[in-house]
Amino acid sequence: MEIPRDQIEAGSMTRQIYSFHGGVHPEENKQISTQHAIAVAPVPAHVIVPVRQHIGQPAKPCVAVGDRVLKGQMIAAAEGYISVAAHAPTSGVVTAIDLHPVPHPSGLSDLCIHIAADGEDRWIERNPTDYRNMNASALRNRLRDMGIAGLGGAVFPTFIKLNPGVPQKVQTLLLNGGECEPWITCDDMTMREHAAEIMQGATVMRFMLRAETVLVGIEDNKPQAIAAMQQAAAQCDFPVEIVTIPTLYPGGGAKQMIKTVTGKEVPSGGRSTDVGVATFNVGTALAIHRAVNLGEPLISRVVTVTGNVGQPRNFEVLIGTPIDELIALAGKHADTVTGHLMGGPMMGIELARTDVPVVKATNCILVKSAKLFPPPPPAMPCIRCTRCADACPADLQPQELLWFTRSKNFDRAEKYQLFDCIECGCCSYVCPSHIPLVQYYRYAKSEISAKQKDQQAADHARERHESRIARIEREKQERAEKLAQKAAAKPAADAATDDPATVVKKAAIQAAIERAKAAKAADDTVATPTE
């Protein structure tokens, strides 16, 4: 229900804010990493730049082993529509272009460009642009070539979202300063220290989107960031509204943020632009400012290093820096290390190894200890207490989805909108039976997707088979008609061809041939990559 939760004063303006369903209040643990300013991490001796750090197609390497590269030089170009470029984070020599483990839940390796730094950290020539004199598509291409992808975690190519649509679909530019995951403070610190530059980025985005309204949503647990952003907003030559929202996980999720500040729900399967809102992370706005106004591609980002480390804090880190080197910067571990998360404890991924590089999606490295992250108690049966449903921001019935998944009743799970689950983890977090619900949903989703792929392949095969049969039938009929015509023309036909035994035999041979052909066709279809 869309009941205004509160009226919050923001400068002279007031904005009604709304509440989304559910949400939880996990322990924040944010204070410890905001005690110090963002530190600049030193240039590592060796950087590893994956060609796929964004959602979409991997970029294509445009350098060769042995090439000298300068800081900021493009080393892999965007390929295909949904793709962005990758750049050398520092100057040096390309030593290898090969598979290297990357921070990904699958734990798999991906193509990476290795660069041995020369220590000079020499920039390529930087060309600031006057965005006001560029046409929209040139500006978007520039952002693509500058490697800009959403830094909030989704790493979707930003230039695609900076399209107002024809006819104009976007009215509101919404900067997401909501950082709801416990422990993470990179956006908070970025806003505190770079508010003016974020606003300069927002100026470019507003121009590109021709947006009427510019909003910034920040939770009320970041008063310093709110103050800094308000100050920066006051300097803008267009109205910017800083909207203070209640601290509630996952209030920083795009859909939840949009609901909170506009009261609108992004339709299932749709985009935020369907409700006239374009949402970007504040760090992305900063990256856009640097790319357009300074001519610097996205080669670094702010990363929170926290948890079981000597001094938790935020670092401005070059993309490609090995994560173990980054962790070492935060001092000695206070306790025995029991693992590493990339991201927060609610949605982060466990890193199988730490020699993987920092990528554009790396917002936080959370070092675990048994004390900070005790193993969960054994899972008990579901008692249908519906705490999960009460906590679910997607208004799902997690206990029903669990039941359907366990009984492999995937159709019902889909009917109960499994695919609207954003995997925020609220349900698992509150479950008194400690059931790893999200794990079940991931499993169910992958099963359903796999089945759908199979189904598509089978449909495809059947279609091909059916059209073959139809064709053969048609040809047969045509032949038969011709024969009939001939026969009509020459009544004294050879009786032997009408011998029933021969007819049966011929038919059997024909059928066998067709079966073999059909089988082959099916094989071909299955072997065809579906993407």
Binding site: F20, H21, V24, P26, E27, P105, P182, K255, K259, E265, V266, P267, S268, G269, G270, L341, G343, P345, M346, M347, G348, I349, E350, A352, K368, F373, P376, P377, P378, M380, P381, C382, I383, R384, C385, T386, R387, A389, P393, A394, D395, L396, Q397, Q399, E400, Y416, Q417, D420, E423, G425, Y429, V430, C431, P432, S433, H434, P436, V438, Q439, R442
Partner: protein, 342 residues
């Protein structure tokens, strides 16, 4: 490897069950105060029986004993059953009831979380059908009783059926107000007349109305601590009051007041502690309202028109059957689906 989330709220089934038991304590205290300590003995018998049966069942099913015994759900079932039957009932009655609750209603259905029916109410239903006589001898309120059963006397009576020399069963036991109402109505007395009898107290029964008040307090505690939501209790009591009010308005001579119905028998205990059992109840907000209201209506119909003095148990069991249907038809809209035609 584990996957997200990596943190849990500090809670467990045991904590929930503990809070439910805590919420029952004021009512139990009032029970002892007004009706004597026999209830403590029946609670103990039920608890011990439940734990023994639970251990056996868990062992037989090859489950790890510790987490499953530590979940506390068997104890809650035992307490609810003991509070639903006469406190001075013979020990074997409690044991039989607990057996049907724990073994038949719970474990034969697949154990915690899988039972279709509310276990305590299954136990109660078996007893009232099989042993109707024993189920009508309730402890009389101290203020009305001829003799007062102490702890030792109560224990002796419960275990051996023997009363101290010279005592009569009538001196310590009585029919409940609901029971009395039923039998007196059959003698063609008017409700107003019957309510003058001392057993009726000021609203729902001498002493028992205070116990009921404590159930209400405990229920509010459960609501405040988010163990339960308001939907089921409110719908249950609201529907019960509504239909009782209608009947009462049409024929006040023959039908008791709505507040009497709310404050007597198992209504309050049922509304806050029994119908709110998550496993066997509806789960969606709308579904909970329907489920609760259904129990309220059925409770009244069984009380007013049926053959049993109280209707809560049968009402709950009947509504348990409808839960899958209710849940399926009351799914709330999912984020992003509002306004989208299905």
């Amino acid at each position: 490897m584990l996957s997200s989330p990596y943190i849990n709220e500090k809670t467990s089934v045991f904590v929930i069950m503990l809070k439910v038991m805590l919420a029952l304590v004021p009512a139990i205290a009032a029970y002892v105060w007004y009706f004597g300590p026999a209830i403590l003995i029946s609670l103990t018998i039920a608890s011990v029986t439940a734990l023994v049966l639970e251990t056996i069942a868990v062992k037989l099913r090859g489950l790890p004993a510790r987490p499953f015994l530590m979940d506390g759900s068997a104890l809650v079932t035992a307490w609810l059953l003991a509070l639903s039957i006469p406190s001075i009932a013979p020990w074997w009655l409690i044991v039989v009831g607990t057996f049907f609750a724990i073994i038949v209603a719970k474990h034969l259905y697949g154990g915690l979380g899988n039972n279709l029916f509310n276990p305590a109410m299954v136990g109660y239903a078996v007893l009232i059908i099989s042993f109707p006589v024993q189920m009508t001898h309730w402890a009389a309120p101290y203020s009305l009783a001829g003799e007062h059963l102490g702890l030792a006397d109560a224990a002796q009576y419960i275990f051996s059926g023997l009363l101290p020399d010279g005592w009569k069963l009538d001196a310590i036991s009585t029919a409940t107000p609901l029971d009395t109402l039923r039998t007196q109505l059959q003698l063609h007395r008017s409700v107003a007349d019957i309510s003058q009898m001392p057993i009726f107290g000021s609203i729902g029964g001498q002493g028992s109305e205070i116990v009921v008040l404590m159930f209400l307090l405990g229920g509010i505690y459960l609501w405040l601590t988010r163990i339960i939501t308001w939907h089921i209790p409110l719908a249950f009591l609201g529907a019960l009051a509504l239909i009782a009010g209608i009947f009462h308005m049409v024929n006040p001579q023959h039908y008791a007041t709505p507040w009497f119905h709310i404050a007597s028998g198992g209504a309050m205990l049922g509304a806050f502690f029994i119908a709110t059992d998550p496993v066997s109840g509806a789960t969606t907000p709308k579904g909970k309202l329907i489920f609760g209201a259904g129990i309220g209506l059925l409770t009244y119909l069984i009380r007013a028109l049926g053959g049993y003095p109280d209707g809560v148990a049968f009402a709950v069991l009947l509504m348990n059957i409808t839960v899958p249907l209710i849940d399926a038809y009351t799914q709330p809209p999912v984020y992003g689906h509002k306004g989208i035609a299905k």
